[in-house]
């Protein structure tokens, strides 16, 4: 599962002060600033409203892959720091049918992810939700967002990207809006054919995802992950039991997953059953289930990892290089 960091990046950040003074971080933050500016402009142009997300709650996204939430003692109640605000996004849809956050998230990732170059404990997502949207609607917005952001940074700060060693030609497909699509089944077959062991019922592992990403010259969607690999809120395809109406967007050239998204489960009884299937106790989700019972709109949405986006744009080796205050899994840092 573990993979060595690409050559060139030290495995861990230098002391924080030194990191904050580094020209490389400065370059990355200038790119991030442009990316955020472009993302907000694009989404507002598409009719989305920006809300500020909650930081703690009685429950949060249960997630997967062994990442866990941090506990907070909230007036004697065990609360969680948000691993993602997905539940709140769904709950907001009746008032805000097209909404987005730039959301800070905290996930205590398994220590083995420290070496993927793609995991931080504290990170941000551009978190988008569309009432009555389909997977295709969400993918169109995700692709449009990536295209628009890429176009903008190459227009606004091309010299920074060039100095970091990025080649404008490598982004031609994205800027032209060219994306490929495959299914989880296809991805598994390709990995098995390449001799990479991949559980067909599971999430594509980090090494496998990197292999697929390295093979590709343009970004691509992976659709139809199997049930059991994702959270209870990803909608199961009514036509194909066991298959989820969800997707990842994978960046080319080894940069890996940028986006996870799906159509959402909105039916109360289905949500409760799916909670059990993922080992969750529905009683913990009382407030969310009340919303679902009262009628939550069907929706689709996604989260685009901001640091992953900036790493892809800048071409830096590790995610910590594009975070001002990086916290690597398993590493105790200020």
């Amino acid at each position: 599962m573990e993979q060595p960091l690409p050559a060139g990046a030290p495995a861990t950040p230098p002391p924080l002060g030194e990191h904050l003074r580094s020209p490389r971080l400065r370059a990355a933050m200038l790119v991030q600033q442009e990316a955020l500016h472009a993302a907000r402009a694009f989404l507002r142009g598409e009719g989305f409203t920006e809300l500020l997300p909650p930081l703690v709650g009685p429950v949060t996204d249960p997630g997967g892959r062994g990442a866990k939430a941090l506990d907070v003692d909230y007036y004697g109640h065990p609360y969680k720091l948000m691993t993602s605000a997905i539940l709140y996004k769904q709950a907001s849809l009746r008032g805000f049918p097209r909404l987005f956050y730039v959301a800070p998230n905290v996930r205590v990732e398994p220590e083995e992810t420290a070496t993927t170059g793609r995991h931080l404990v504290e990170f941000h997502q551009i978190d988008v939700e569309i009432a009555d949207g389909s997977r295709e609607d969400a993918q169109e917005i995700a692709a449009g967002l990536l295209t628009h952001v890429t176009e903008h940074v190459w227009t606004a700060v091309p010299e920074i990207l060039s100095e970091l060693g990025r080649m404008e030609g490598d982004f031609a497909d994205i800027r032209a809006g060219k994306y490929d699509v495959c299914t989880h089944d296809d991805a598994v077959s390709r990995l098995l054919a390449a001799g990479h062991p991949q559980n067909p019922d599971g999430e594509i592992d980090w090494a496998g995802e990197r292999l697929l990403s390295l093979e590709s010259d343009r970004p691509f969607f992976v659709n139809d992950y199997p049930k059991g690999s994702r959270g209870f809120y990803d909608r199961e395809d009514p036509e194909r039991p066991g298959v989820l109406r969800n997707f990842d967007l994978i960046a080319p050239h080894g940069y890996g997953e940028l986006v996870s998204g799906s159509e959402r489960e909105a039916d109360y009884a289905t949500i409760v059953t799916r909670m059990r299937e993922s080992g969750e106790n529905p009683a913990k989700y009382a407030w969310y289930l009340k919303e679902a019972r009262d009628g939550m709109p069907a929706s689709a949405g996604f989260g685009m990892g901001l640091q992953r986006l900036v790493r892809f744009l800048t071409g830096l080796d590790a995610l910590w290089q594009v975070s001002a205050y990086p916290k690597l899994p398993g590493v105790v840092a200020p």
């Binding site: 892959r65 866990k68 559980n199 019922d201 059991g228 690999s229 059990r276 080992g279 106790n281 398993g330």
Partner: protein, 432 residues
């Protein structure tokens, strides 16, 4: 009390209920913590114990062993090694979970764990350890207790042998036990040597269909009330109260998906699942193996160390022998518990398809008798009986045992003699 009498009617029990109400549904709560509960003597024997172990006269496998050894095989030539739920074990045995009852969660459990390690057999740590006793939230005491057990086990276990299995039930899921442990650096040595498993507990033999139950005092009851249901059914003053965990809801799809979730989230841990002796246990076991479970544990109605209503102890659930008959030839590693304490019952369970058998109450009694070596002595005696019995059957490894090695005086069918038997499952539990 009047002069009324009702010969032939359980008058004494009725009068006790008339006096004590709901308290009479349970064993005497004053014995809690010092008594291990199980079915009454009248219901303890199941079909498994009625079967005789019957060696043949002609023994081709003994001839194979003779050729292999170039001398007559002896009972000491029987290899008792087994692959138990993904672990390498020296014996086809493992230490069952004791649950969170007071009798099972004190020093005895620590002693039992250390001896299990020395014996080279896996150890299961019970459900509800964390939500009852707390983890980091309640200070480090429980974490240390849990880690002390794990460290003691690792210190004593031979390299690469044995393993530690941590159960999780519905209440544990609230406390995210597996998540806590999987990312706790103290568990890394187990993960790195492939000796950690997580067991999804869906039920238990002592009270099929119910969740865990313990007796708590008033102060504990108040402290636990937010996480558990606590009921005043044991005495009128509420000095001793019943703490109930929910059993959790399962369908075949829920089980399948939960197992997938475990394998996805904890790829370096083995995946075990434990069933109560339900009428559809064969369907449940097949579902679990198909979803990739490394081991399926079946707890017969004879099982359980924990507190349970008397009516469940004596009247509810299938005996282990019937569970094994319904399961038939296993599609994966099958572990059997319930009333195990000597070699005969163990051999019968192994002959009916179990890969290994679990010691629960017997292990606790053994370490109660001798905290330092009681379990080792007990297991030595079982191991000797296993070697004697298996060699007498003309076989020299555990996996060679089969239903042909047993005979039932009352014609109890084994899966070898009367296959296929899976069709006898209750329609409500039948595979779709």
């Amino acid at each position: 009390m009047t002069a009324l009498s009702t010969p032939g009617f359980p008058e004494r029990e009725i009068r006790a209920r008339a006096r004590n109400g709901t308290a009479e549904v349970f064993p005497d709560s004053r014995t809690y913590g010092t008594r291990l509960y199980g079915p009454g003597a009248g219901t303890a024997a199941d079909g498994l114990d009625r079967a005789r172990i019957v060696p043949p006269v002609f023994m081709p496998q003994r001839l194979e062993k003779l050729i292999d050894l170039a001398r007559e095989p002896e009972f000491t030539d029987v290899d008792l090694g087994a692959r138990v739920g993904g672990f390498t074990a020296r014996l086809p045995l493992y230490l069952s979970a004791f649950g969170s009852t007071r009798a099972g969660s004190g020093d005895l459990a620590v002693h039992a764990g250390r001896q299990a390690a020395r014996l080279g057999i896996p150890m299961v740590i019970g459900e509800n350890m964390i939500p009852v006793h707390g983890y980091r939230r309640a200070g480090d005491a429980t974490r240390s207790a849990l880690l002390a057990r794990v460290e003691a086990y690792l210190d004593a276990a031979p390299d690469g042998i044995g393993g530690v299995v941590v159960q999780q039930s519905t209440e544990d899921a609230d406390s995210e036990v597996w998540n806590l442990l999987y990312s706790d650096p103290a568990f890394r040595p187990l993960l790195e040597t492939g000796r950690l498993a997580f067991e999804l507990k869906t039920g238990q033999g002592a009270k099929p269909g119910l969740g865990g139950m313990t007796v708590v005092d008033r102060a504990e009851a108040e402290q636990l009330a937010r996480r558990f249901t606590v009921r005043e059914v044991l005495d009128p003053d509420g000095e001793r109260q019943l703490r109930c965990a929910t059993p959790g809801t399962f369908t075949d799809e829920i089980l399948r998906q939960q197992l997938r979730f475990m394998r996805n989230n904890f790829p370096k841990a083995r995946t075990w699942v434990k069933f109560h002796p339900g009428r559809d246990v064969a369907h449940a076991a097949r579902t679990a193996w198909a979803a990739g479970a490394d081991a399926v544990t079946v707890d017969g109605a004879e099982g359980g160390t924990g507190w349970a209503p008397g009516v469940f102890l004596d009247h509810v659930g299938l005996p282990l022998g019937e569970c094994l008959r319904r399961i038939g030839r296993p599609d994966g590693c099958l572990l059997a518990t319930g009333g195990m304490w000597e070699g005969g019952r163990a051999v019968r369970a192994l002959a009916l398809g179990a890969t290994a058998v679990g010691l629960g109450r017997a292990a606790l009694v053994a370490v109660d008798e001798d905290p330092e070596h009681g379990l080792e002595h007990l297991v030595d005696s079982i191991a000797l009986e296993l070697q004697l019995l298996i060699s007498a059957l003309g076989k020299y490894e555990v996996a060679a045992l089969g239903p042909e090695d047993l005979w039932w005086p009352d014609g109890h069918p084994s899966y070898g003699a009367d296959a296929p038997l899976l069709g006898v499952a209750d329609p409500a539990g039948a595979a779709p």
